[in-house]
Symmetry: D2
Subunit: 391 residues, 4 copies
């Protein structure tokens, strides 16, 4: 497939020039002060992006799945009860991972397309008067369905119940692209990766850890080694790593944070919202609906678009790739074949989004869907024109 067109998958994202360069660097001695001078700013930068001053940040050479594993194995013990909603592929996978590590998951099943139900979390927590639930898992942005959940509401549910459970949040496809407030929301472990909002290659599992999570790590009995928070924090304290670090990605992470902060985190979020609104206008113009079924819960980083019943949505992705050299995301799990996804996170402009919409229109028309080419583009253009500022 051509690398000339941008990708419209919900991560890995298009990588800015500056970050391409920052990752492409000769080997250095990771036991020297030169590495410390890369690591410490990266950790500090991650904390600022996560909006935590109380907590710590750790970075493992892994993907987001590794961060899920790190969160649970460092803070919990086999048999511990965990409360989690299952309403998309990624929330489902995290639950599966918990079970593999011997946790007892109390699952709240919700329709794919709806957010994690804060009211049902509240009920379950209130009912758990013995505080058997040790941790609550929330997927902030379900990448499979393009749905944003209300983390603050889950925090309020915990607080209302006076419940001491830890709050773990998968922010893989939201952090650094959508509003995320670790301290304000009382998140105990915040989880993300390098290849989404940070706009880097895949390879860093990033966790924010509250003091409470750090305390839990002292007693947690799940076996862990590679992902052990304590080893990592001990080594980081001396400017080092417990094993060979992914130097280039860590170095580039500091540069990524610098790019985000130069634009301003609020401006980054606003840019993603603006681009997403344009995409949503296009979807309406096409006469289609988002998988995100409840107004106000639509993701600003990925739009999962329902195709008409009987149509295999995966054909859109395949045809877009083979005929126009454009990458969209397929539907996963329960919505496989029912949705295709347009990723619009990371390094994305309105003009790039219009290219994606134009391509999607051609593909849908080619495949016989009743979508008029130009219609979605026009709707998005209207939005972008109305909201544009100086570049």
């Amino acid at each position: 497939m051509s690398t000339q067109n941008p990708v419209f998958i919900p991560g890995p994202t298009n990588i800015p020039e500056d970050l391409r360069r920052a990752m492409d660097y000769p080997s250095i001695d990771h036991r020297s002060p030169a590495f410390r001078d890369m690591l410490l700013p990266a950790l500090a930068g991650v904390k600022r992006v996560l909006r935590t001053t109380a907590g710590e940040a750790v970075i493992f050479p892994a993907s987001g799945t590794g961060a899920w594993e790190a969160a649970i194995t460092n803070t919990l013990s086999p048999g511990d009860r965990v409360l989690a909603a299952r309403h998309g592929m990624f929330s489902a996978r995290w639950i599966d991972l918990c079970r593999r590590h011997g946790l007892d998951v109390e699952v709240i099943d919700e329709a794919w397309g709806l957010p994690a139900p804060a009211d049902r979390f509240a009920a379950a927590l209130a009912a758990d008067t013995g505080h058997r639930i040790r941790a609550v898992l929330v997927t902030h942005n379900e990448t499979a369905t393009g749905v944003r959940s209300d983390v603050a509401a889950v925090r309020r549910a915990l607080d209302a119940a006076g419940h001491p459970a830890l709050l773990f949040v998968d922010g893989v496809s939201s952090i650094a692209s959508m509003d995320f407030r670790m301290d304000d929301w009382g998140v105990d472990v915040a989880i993300t990766g390098s290849q989404k909002g940070f706009m880097l290659a895949t390879g860093l599992a990033i966790c924010g850890l509250s003091p409470k999570a750090l305390a839990a790590a002292e007693t947690a009995a799940c076996p862990r080694g590679f992902f052990d928070f304590r080893d990592m924090l001990n080594a980081n304290a001396g400017g080092g790593f417990p094993y060979t670090p992914p130097v280039n990605l860590i170095r580039a992470l500091t540069r990524s944070v610098a790019l985000l902060e130069a634009e301003g985190l609020e401006a980054v979020f606003a840019r993603h919202h603006r681009i997403a609104e344009g995409v949503r206008a296009a979807v309406r113009a096409w006469g289609l609906r988002l998988c995100a079924a409840r107004p106000g819960t639509e993701s600003d980083t990925v739009s999962a678009i329902l195709t008409p019943a009987g149509f295999d949505a995966t054909r859109i992705v395949t045809h877009a790739a083979s005929r126009y050299g454009v990458a969209f995301g397929v539907g996963l799990g329960e919505v496989a074949g029912k949705v295709f996804r347009i990723g619009h996170l990371g390094s994305m402009t309105d003009v790039m989004a219009l290219a994606g919409l134009a391509a999607a229109e051609m593909v849908m028309a080619d495949l016989g869907l009743p979508v008029r080419p130009g219609s979605g583009v026009a709707a998005a253009q209207d939005h972008y024109r109305a909201t544009a500022r100086a570049a």
Copy 2:
């Protein structure tokens, strides 16, 4: 300005990944066989792209303007008469350059927007029974107006008149993107640069030289040093250069030719024609006209679009850059303020072109022109869908 969006200027073009890499290389010894092994394939590749087997290729570290100067100073003597059409900024500049070097230019003025008039060339050549005219200059693709001239027709005019003048062709913005046939058309010096169809950075002035041009170099009296064909050919024969060569660009030129030949030159031309046809469909949908006034002479590498009388077309370029981070080309010389230009040469896809058209529509609508957003995109989409093949 953002580097996320592609550029839509008529060169330098968007540079493919592979060529970015090929240019980014450590220093080597340019007096070693390693350089010879870069130079000789580059020269051979240029000859294939120029479609010459009879001639030679030379490459100078300069821009296309340097190639203009090389062509005339190596083959002509002060006071020599040259016949040239002036119908755009670049043909006008070449004439000016000739005069600076003491040549006597017989100018055929033609309207900007029309091609070089082969019939008036024919008349001038027929009238020149004494063969005072030593060279005929043709700008194959006037980058300022987006007009293609008929080089073969000028060759026929020379042949019909039995005229021995040399034929020089500026193919800067056509070669490697549009059909060009040095041997078939009897071109004596073909001129281009690295930053257009070859998709590299600016820095190489490339000339194809017929045996007749080489013979002329033996007697030409214009002073020259840096651009001397003889020194260059002598050095090249031994695999070297008469001075420090631009190694990286020469190395990358071979890779550029490999990309062109992997796609197939005819396929490259067809791709540019297809993309250009989509752009032209958009222009019609906008209710606008090209500067190229005669059907069949439209350039496949750049479209110069006339804006309504009284409107300053330069505002489109300025607004596109400042509001949407997109680069179009301004009008130059006589058409300054009257046209804006969309470059679609080099590394360009249909989807990238749609992004440019969508941006242009937003800009024109923002500036109050009666262009309906989405209209041009839709017209181009229709063309692209109808002509798409597997990517």
Copy 3:
């Protein structure tokens, strides 16, 4: 620290130009055939480098420590007995990791500077008539001491005892630089990373798996998720990954194998041996000894050099970095302060090695050690001259 000088640490290694480029690539859709076309050749290439046809290769986004963890958690159950030698920092750490995962490690302590004692392995295995030992761990190349162990001898010990235990080999700093024969030696899990012999950035944990190891994965009860072989193999079978893959490193891994195979694996090993022999000649000329105490067990990828008693060897590393911008490796664990290490694996030439030796001489002389500048260089030059072939 300057990035102009090569690094002389035992990994990450100096990265060849071609691999720098191969890692620096735009994002692609990892669910598309384009990724499959990167993954499958990478896996096939790893198998060829490991010299296994019977086994499989898996690649995780992690470091070599992750591969250690993957090896044991996929094949063993809590409480399982493991036999391992402890004779350096990395063998010690692997033992520690086993214990964290609930394994019962029978440790054979050997002096740091000696190889894993095959005879004591043989005795322990012969004594284990009940076959309680489920796995034997061997560190092929102890990076901390620069000592190579005899894996084939451990295999012979297993076979002689008729013992069914699995054989795991840490080849992190040997594979792709020194002779390694997975099938011939009956290795069940071979472990390495991307940043050593493969000459890439850190980020890939690479395992070769024998059919016996794969069978063990079906019954192993250690919890695992991120590093689960079965999920990985299932996903790989379809050309995919169980989570977001580190696309760029996987893409570059194929290119790395191509470089190794273009030179020829035997030639790569011979090159490292030749360079190492030169380093060892220098050490003798300096009047110093290697940590590797037994002739024939010296590593060809890293030389750990003992400094005189009472001298803090770490000062060499610090001084080399601060005064000459050159990175050597510090001593670790029991040999901290007693040795400094010169890494000479990966992308290394004789001339680069001479630069490192010259720097080491200056440093040692600066610090008052009785080393005559030029003496080691001269000894190495003699060896390199005597063994040089056309570059």
Copy 4:
């Protein structure tokens, strides 16, 4: 040839990472303010490096030879007399170039290995009471012989004679590596390229122009077009270029100046002097002599080393390349076969220089010259140790 080892040619030099990156950049619109914002700092930076506040800087897309041509064609008229010393390949070539452009060159022949003779310049200028000499040409650093000339002394000769001739200085291999003072020395045109002290790829011809040179450009009658100062200065004044500029090199030139100024120009000169002194110590230890015959005139950027009579010095360069993958410079012109050259300008460290010396020793010993391996390295090490500061 390997790209792992540094090059030891007197340019193009080893390119720092930062400058590799700065040159590798996507295309931008060179008619936009983005280009102006690259160009103006580059020009300002060049002026600071040239140490001129009175003059202007211009940059052409060409090599240093183009700058030679630009200097003479912009300021002189056919038939004008020029005074020049010929004492090496590059001074000889510049004289040849003058003659091709119709100038009347009064040549002062000096032995290759000696500097331009200021006393003979003084005599010729004093004798030229009619002021027929319009320009004096000095090669500050003869790259072919490794000899530095005394520009200030030539300026004094002009002043002593009250002679109004222009002073042109070829500083191609000195500027930005050795002390150069355009205003202090009254240089009218200073000439260099991008690939030497500026550590970039070849492709920029850089000239500093005094007000007197600018005035001369108003009346000079040599034909010129591509290299016309007036067009360039006019375009630059508006932030533009008279034709397509080499954007990437111009952008990187600003970064190059930033690197030089971060180190400090005086510190850069001191570094080159220190490295060169080490090389010269090695040459003495080898029992060889430099081509630079007069003490105090040795170049700090390149050492041309005389080999014993009867020995073909070119064999050293060929053997170094083929056996050790190391590039040295061959002898040129009158000293072809008599010298080989070690370039040590641009991005070079003491440790890199030691690698080059070690390689040269192996080569010379291989070829039967009475050079003891290690001897030159040891001598250079002594110098580097004695003069080292914190890296």
